[in-house]
Amino acid sequence: MTAAAEHMPRPKTSSRFLRRSLPYLLSLPALIVCIGILIPFFTAVYYSLLRFRLNLPALKGFIWFDNYLNFLTDAAFWNTVKISLVYAGLTVGVELLLGLGIALLLQKPTRFNNLASILLLLPLMTAPALAALMWKLMTNPNFGILSYLVSLLGFTNFKWASDPSTALLTVTLVDVWVYTPFIMILLLAGLRSLPKAPFEAAALDGVPRSFVFFRITLPMLLPYIITASLFRLLDSIQQFDIVYSMTQGGPGDTLMVFQVQSYLEFFQYTNVGRSAALLIVLWAITYFLSNIFIKQWLKLRERAHGVA
């Protein structure tokens, strides 16, 4: 080092202010972009308290909670609640059972099982709206392969999504096709991360497998099951893509789940106030669920980081 360098004064480049504000400076741009999107949320709350129809602007006025109060006696609203809950319960229930079953089948990390689990990701990576179109093609009454297959079983007039009695079944099938892999992949990761010792001890003691499954595997897997189910439940109760692409909520009002109903309320009937109120009700439900979910998820996340 030269003598000149030795006596060079140290530059004062990092003021304490800059150091303290750095984290805020780093996260601010992301926040600003999101705040722009947060404003409409409050607008929606406000709209839900209005009589507001796009085609009748003169009627616009503040009506407090009338939109919500009207729901109480509105059969269409209760139909929406019912359909949304049934849809969410049915899809998540089936996906959970199926996903758990497949995860158990693929539990051993053999090369074949790993390949299978990767291939099973493909439906999950298919856009749900496009998946609905694929199934629409397969259930087409004229040439759909599935229509043909069920006709071999004797159901010659099986109308899939166009028949009110089978529409729910059909969209559930698509939802199950797309999202079961999600639950499967999470539970598989969970299963493979379980400690080996309890299972080895049980095997040594000759404990029956059903006992091992219900008393060891299932309880240890429970946090994963809860996380995966809540995650799916949050998504499923808001389902739009599959239902809209497949039937637009029909036939009739068979599949008028929350978001489809409010979409039509907004664009077809231009009833902004009612549409917003519907979405606020949905938001309240998801907010409740997501709070439980985030707690669960943080617990799991801590565990995953602790192990890793």
Partner: protein, 285 residues
């Protein structure tokens, strides 16, 4: 578990085969359809043996559909291009915004930090229409309806939370001492971020970027509400295409194949990271 009997092995194998058939058959069948003419598609009983044709793809790519009623212009390639543009630019913007923010959340314990992080996370769970419907009215006033900029902005709702939460975990895994060492060696904060933190978190950043791309690509409802035909991505475009082309089933199938191929290819390429990404890091893959 090592004493699995042959019978059990057979049952397991059979069940796995059934599972694979259920989940892979639709993709297989649509791919087959995309290489068929309407004639062979409508054949009863259906068969997997047919003379393959590329006419569906060529019609989509040239944008000219010959029907008995005359020639029809197809905008499908435009939709495909829109998907590429929207997904790529959205992810790029998300990375620019999200990676520094993820770093801040991982490295600094600062007031509001956790609150901000959770606000961003909660976007992941709110009903999208709740924001989109009022936003469609605002966009009209702002002139953002049916613009790429408006769409890319809204797509941040999909990409940002994903990138933020995955990348944050990767930053947290880097020992702070490594960054300290680089600073003490004589480098500024910014150089340390660029030369140490980002390269070391690169696998996570890449995975988050790929996943965000897939989710942006697969999104339907944002563009359905905020875009018209010329800005629509394939998810919305394909639905319109079905209505427009009526009974050109081979072309519909080909359009679907072209629309899902990029995400499926990416998924296979990045499958290692999918588990972690899908669960926002709750489960390490």
């Amino acid at each position: 578990m090592d004493h699995t009997s042959n019978l059990e092995r057979i049952i397991r194998g059979g069940l796995i085969a059934l599972v694979l058939i259920f989940f892979l058959f639709p993709i297989f069948w649509i791919v087959l359809m995309s290489f068929q003419t309407n004639e062979t598609i409508l054949r009863i009983p259906p068969s997997i043996f047919f003379e393959p044709t590329l006419s569906n793809y060529s019609a989509l790519i040239t944008g000219k559909l010959k029907t008995t009623a005359g020639n029809l212009d197809l905008a499908f390639m435009k939709n495909l291009w829109n998907s590429v543009l929207l997904s790529t630019l959205s992810v790029a913007l998300s990375l620019i915004l999200g990676v520094p923010a993820a770093y801040a959340f991982a490295r600094f314990r600062f007031r509001l930090g956790e609150d901000i992080a959770f606000t961003l996370l909660s976007f992941r769970f709110a009903p999208p229409l709740l924001v989109l419907l009022p936003l469609s009215l605002y966009f009209k006033q702002l002139g953002l309806t049916n613009t790429y900029i408006g769409l890319i902005w809204v797509y941040q709702l999909i990409c940002l939370p994903l990138i933020l939460w995955i990348v944050r975990g990767y930053f947290e895994d880097i020992s702070p001492d490594i960054e300290h060492a680089y600073r003490i060696a004589g480098n500024s904060w910014w150089q340390t971020f660029r030369k140490i933190a980002v390269p070391l978190a690169m696998p996570g950043i890449a995975a988050a970027g790929l996943l965000a791309f897939i989710f942006a690509w697969n999104n339907f409802v944002f563009a359905l509400i905020l875009a018209s035909a010329d800005k629509q991505p394939v998810t919305v475009g394909a639905l319109a295409f079905v209505t427009a082309s009526g009974i050109q089933y081979g072309q519909i199938a080909a359009a679907i194949v072209l629309s899902i191929a990029p995400t499926l290819a990416l998924a296979l390429y990045a499958q290692r990271y999918l588990v972690e990404g899908l669960s926002l890091g709750a489960v390490k893959g």
